[in-house]
């Protein structure tokens, strides 16, 4: 068996006394589209933040292509080929749409901290960024400040920035949150298109998106994964049904 | 031994004075995220106002009125200046308070001129409280200690035991929630800013007669106050207290004991070079502790920042 793209073992996280993530073991294969679902407050975003070292885990390990990420900073993890988007749109609002994407290309294309290259005269950067813009259908918005885009467009740009660097593991945190149906369809198609052949891990609330996209699904409830498997299996799992139903009942009180 | 006691008292006075400033600064910072650069300017205004009032109504009325006036001014600055700049972000806020500090200094020079004001210790406190081995401790210093400790206890009481204090503490961490609960958060901010500046004003009233009332007084103390809260950890009230006392004692002891760098270096095994005049390091050898007393806080700050970036009591954050 080949090494999984991402492997979590015994991952735990506590904030003070509250244990938010209580021991997660999960293995996601190469080129797999994996969705993490679960009721509100289950710790999905926390799990994302643990993987990408936004917070340090209390215990447990995260391995990317078999290599431990312990002690690495977010930027170092990114350089290893793991890229993520955020639940709350996280772009550079004052820069143009084009520049947002170009910034995402700089490190992967090897420009690093160089001060002897002029970005405007680099064909690979300009064309690379334009290609991404074309992919996410934002070429027409190219020279507008990113902050002036519509919400759906900003989400699309966020995805564009996330995939631009060519990372092979993409993590999307609720890419369709707060969108209308048409916008959701647009983003879903977009995700399908841009993550072709890559490992995708996404947190999502919208079940139609999840079942349309994911090869496998994990259900996270109160910091634990209660089920992992093919969409149809997960849907049929009584524990999942109970967890969702239970959470829905609790929410009513 | 006696000298140590005298220095302990002197350092305590300096430290508590620093704390009166750093406490207000810390409160304002942790609530609004604004480091009020003009904080020490309000301290200066306190001294000048108290001087002006003391001419007409005597020291005690100055002690009572000057902090109130300064507090009202401070609240006005928050309401009409800072709140406006707030929308542009933290850096413009900081620049705003920096400009305010410049302007207040110019304003003070405009009104009172560049010379030191004859603002003196009141007659009734102008005696020696007691003496230790020939070193007399003036009553005013004891008075300063009492006032600042009183303020500290009062502040602690208000913050931990009263409803207003609860709301303030909650507003520190969850301004949105507190606002949703029906409390007027902008008003709380204005109030905290007013109280913080009033505290600074009070510090000015009692420090003016001892440290001198002149246009540069804000700047002399101001940068030390900033250093204090960086050392203590931005936003930590306990950190501010500990750092204030630490700096108070550090500078006082450095000034009163003449420790020479040459002796320290000899002590750890370096021998004094023969030809001091030509050595590039000659200044290092001739440094004495009173000489560097005033920069010790800065050195301490740099060391703290290198080894414990969040400050003594600061929370580590990413």
């Amino acid at each position: 068996m080949s090494t999984p793209a991402l492997e979590l073992t015994g991952l735990k996280k506590s904030f003070g006394k509250a244990e938010i993530i209580r021991g997660i073991d999960l293995s996601i294969g190469k080129a797999e589209r994996h969705a993490i679902i679960g009721p509100n407050g289950a710790g999905k975003s926390t799990l994302f933040n643990l993987i990408t070292a936004r917070f340090p885990p209390t215990s447990g390990t995260v391995k990317l292509h078999g290599e431990s990420l312990a002690g690495l900073e977010p930027f170092q993890i990114n350089r290893k080929g793991l890229s993520r988007s955020f639940q709350i749109t996280n772009i550079f609002p004052k820069m143009t749409v084009f520049e947002n994407v170009r910034c995402a290309l700089l490190w992967p294309q090897g420009y690093k901290y160089s001060f002897w290259n002029l970005v405007n005269y680099k064909r690979d950067l300009t064309e690379g960024a334009d290609a991404i813009l074309e992919q996410i259908n934002l070429l027409e918005r190219r020279d507008l400040p990113a902050g002036t885009l519509s919400y759906a467009e900003q989400r699309a740009l966020e995805i564009g920035i996330t995939i631009a660097g060519g990372a092979n593991v993409i993590m999307l945190d609720e890419p369709t949150a707060g969108m209308s149906n048409t916008e959701t369809d647009y983003i879903t198609d977009l995700i399908l298109k841009v993550t072709e052949g890559k490992t995708l891990i996404m947190v999502e609330h919208d079940m139609s998106v999840v079942f349309g996209l994911a090869d496998r699904i994990s259900v996270l409830v109160y910091g634990e994964i209660i089920a992992t498997g093919k969409p149809a299996d997960v849907r049929a799992d009584p524990r999942v049904q109970e967890a969702y139903l239970g959470a829905a009942l609790e929410a009513e009180h | 031994m006696e000298l140590i006691l005298v220095n302990l008292i002197d350092g305590l006075v300096t430290g508590l004075l620093l704390f009166m400033l750093s406490a207000g600064l810390t409160l304002i910072f942790s609530m609004m995220g604004v480091l009020n650069f003009a904080h020490a300017s309000f301290y200066m205004l306190g001294a000048y106002f108290a001087y002006q009032i003391s001419i007409a109504l005597g020291f005690w009325m100055g002690l009572l009125l000057a902090p109130i006036i300064v507090g009202v001014l401070g609240a006005g600055v928050e309401r009409y200046g800072l709140r406006r700049v707030h929308q542009y972000g933290h850096v413009p806020e900081l620049i705003f308070t920096f400009g305010l500090a410049l302007l207040i200094e110019e304003l003070v020079q405009f009104i009172w001129g560049k010379n030191q004001m004859p603002y003196n210790v009141p007659e009734i406190l102008n005696f020696t409280a007691f003496s230790i081995a020939g070193n007399s401790i003036p009553a005013f210093k004891i008075f300063m200690i009492f006032v600042s400790v009183g303020i500290f206890v009062g502040l602690l009481f208000v913050l931990t035991k009263t409803r207003v204090g609860m709301i303030i503490q909650a507003a520190l961490s969850y301004p949105r929630t507190v606002e949703a609960l029906g409390h007027n958060v902008p008003l709380i901010f204005m109030g905290v800013f007013g109280v913080g500046t009033a505290l600074a004003g009070l510090a000015g009233v009692i420090a003016g007669p001892v440290l001198g009332t002149f246009p540069g007084m804000a700047f002399v103390l101001g940068s030390i106050v900033f250093v204090t809260i960086v050392i203590g950890g931005l936003g930590s009230l306990w950190g501010a207290l500990v750092a204030s006392l630490l700096i108070g004692w550090l500078t006082t002891f450095a000034k009163s004991y003449n420790v020479r760098m040459e002796d320290i270096l000899n002590g750890i095994g370096f021998s004094t070079p023969e030809n001091m005049g030509e050595s590039a390091l000659r200044d290092l050898w001739t440094i004495t502790s009173p000489q560097i007393a005033d920069i010790l806080p800065y050195i301490l700050m740099v060391l703290i920042l290198i080894f414990r970036p969040a400050g003594l009591f600061g929370k580590r954050h990413q």
């Binding site: - | 590039a280 200044d283 290092l284």
Partner: protein, 438 residues
């Protein structure tokens, strides 16, 4: 090779690039010509001195804006890097053998290197954070080094500072820089070179990422860049150019003292930069020119010039956070729409009375100051070429009326200016747009 030159106008990236060369080169050529011609227009020695001061401030302010405007780092102690660079240059001037083998125009590079070295040392721990913490550290370090200047006498020269003589350098094509005009051209050369280099820096990967880190450090981290290192590189580069400014100062004045390092100087450069506008590359240039002129003119006229500068600064922060450059650039859309002319009259109607009112207010301020602080018996003062007795009531009434009337008219006409402004900023209706597209 040929396919690199062909441009496809349908591709926006190439459309951009075709025009951008002339747009980027033109201002620099204009600047170079202006620098070269200025001494022919303003020939007096004092004018040269002022211009030298101006250009040095330009370099320093641009270096400062690499931090504040482009990197989002507010420094309260940036004079240290200019100062250290300057002091280093003074010491080099005093190393007779070494200095005699070096042409003077090379000296600012050493200033830059020392400024950069200093910035690397301080930056190694100060750039961990931006924002308030960075500002506080910069203040503390600034104070520390300024205080050291009286202790480390060997380097900073104590209270007298360090002085030297630039003419001991190796003659540069026979020129020994005895004349003010020679120094002017040396300074101008360095201003141009530094400004171009700093502009180019903002176009490099690390320069672009400085903007990204300023706006959203977290996102930048998830794009593979360490926010801290990006800040560190910006800080180092800024230290270099500040050091160059310090070196130019050393060449011009041939003396450096504690004043070049202290927080007051750091405050001035913040003021200059912010006044000019941190949002645009050319902002600090405008700021440096405007501030130097203001300082020169006002400080001759009034003791209170620092007070006015403070008021101006505070007003800028509160009402025009974009500074002068922001104000100018606000008008670009109006010009593009061809509506600039419609704004002239409303501007005159509001700004002229406002200016007169402010002058009246300034007169009141001056009179109050004179009334309070003039020596006993010295009742006469001169404001705006008029001499009068401040202890009589008439001048107060006149100044008061001028102030009230001026500001009153400005206030009354302000709404119509606002209207004219929004009208000028509105794009023409669709019908004209159709004609334009054909």
């Amino acid at each position: 090779m040929t396919d690199q030159i062909t441009t496809d106008p349908s591709k926006p990236s190439q459309r951009m690039r075709a025009g951008s060369m002339t747009i980027t080169v033109l201002p620099w050529v204009a600047g170079a010509i202006a620098l070269a011609v200025m001494p022919a227009i303003f020939t007096s020695n004092s004018a040269l001195t002022i211009m030298n001061q101006m250009w040095i401030t330009v370099v320093f302010a641009l270096a400062y804006n690499m931090l504040l405007g482009q990197g989002g780092m507010l420094s309260f102690g940036h004079a240290v890097y200019a100062g250290v660079g300057g002091f280093a240059c003074m010491h080099i001037m005093n190393m007779s053998d070494f200095f005699a083998a070096m042409p003077l125009p090379v000296l600012p590079i050493f200033g830059g290197l020392f400024g950069m070295g200093m910035a690397m040392i301080v930056g190694s721990f100060s750039t961990r954070n931006a924002g308030t913490v960075f500002a506080m550290i910069s203040l503390g370090v600034g104070e520390l080094i300024a205080a050291c200047s009286v202790i480390i006498v060997a380097f900073f020269g104590g209270e007298e500072g360090i002085s030297g003589d630039r003419t001991y350098a190796m003659p540069f094509f026979g020129n020994e820089f005895l004349q003010q005009i020679d120094v002017y051209y040396l300074t101008s050369f360095w201003v141009l070179v530094s400004a171009i280099l700093m502009y180019l820096w903002s176009r490099t990967p690390v320069g672009r990422m400085a903007n990204a880190v300023r706006d959203n450090p977290e996102r930048a981290e998830f794009l593979g860049y360490s926010a801290r290192w990006v800040r560190f590189y910006s800080f180092t580069a800024s230290g270099f150019f500040a050091g160059v400014a310090g070196g130019l100062f050393a060449i011009n004045y041939e003396i450096l003292t504690e004043e070049n390092l202290n927080t007051a100087s750091s405050g001035v450069i913040l003021l200059v930069t912010f006044l000019g506008g941190v949002g645009f590359f050319f902002g600090p240039i405008i700021g440096a020119i405007a501030f130097t002129l203001l300082q020169t003119v006002l400080s001759l006229q009034t003791e209170l010039w620092a007070f006015y500068a403070g008021v101006l600064f505070l007003a800028t922060v509160m009402f025009f956070p974009g500074g002068l450059a922001g104000l100018l650039m606000m008008h670009v859309p109006v010009f593009k729409l061809g509506h600039a002319r419609s704004l002239v009259m409303p501007y005159l109607k509001t700004l002229l009375p406002a200016a007169i009112g402010l002058l009246g207010l300034a007169a009141l301020v001056e009179m109050t100051f004179h009334f309070r602080h003039a020596a006993l018996g010295d009742d006469e003062m001169t404001v705006f070429w008029t001499t009068f007795d401040t202890h009589t009531i008439l001048p107060w009434i006149i100044a008061g009326v001028v102030t009230l009337v001026g500001l009153g008219i400005a206030r009354a006409t302000a709404p119509s200016l606002k209207e004219a402004w929004s009208a000028a900023n509105t794009a023409p209706p669709v019908t004209t747009a159709k004609g334009g597209a054909a």
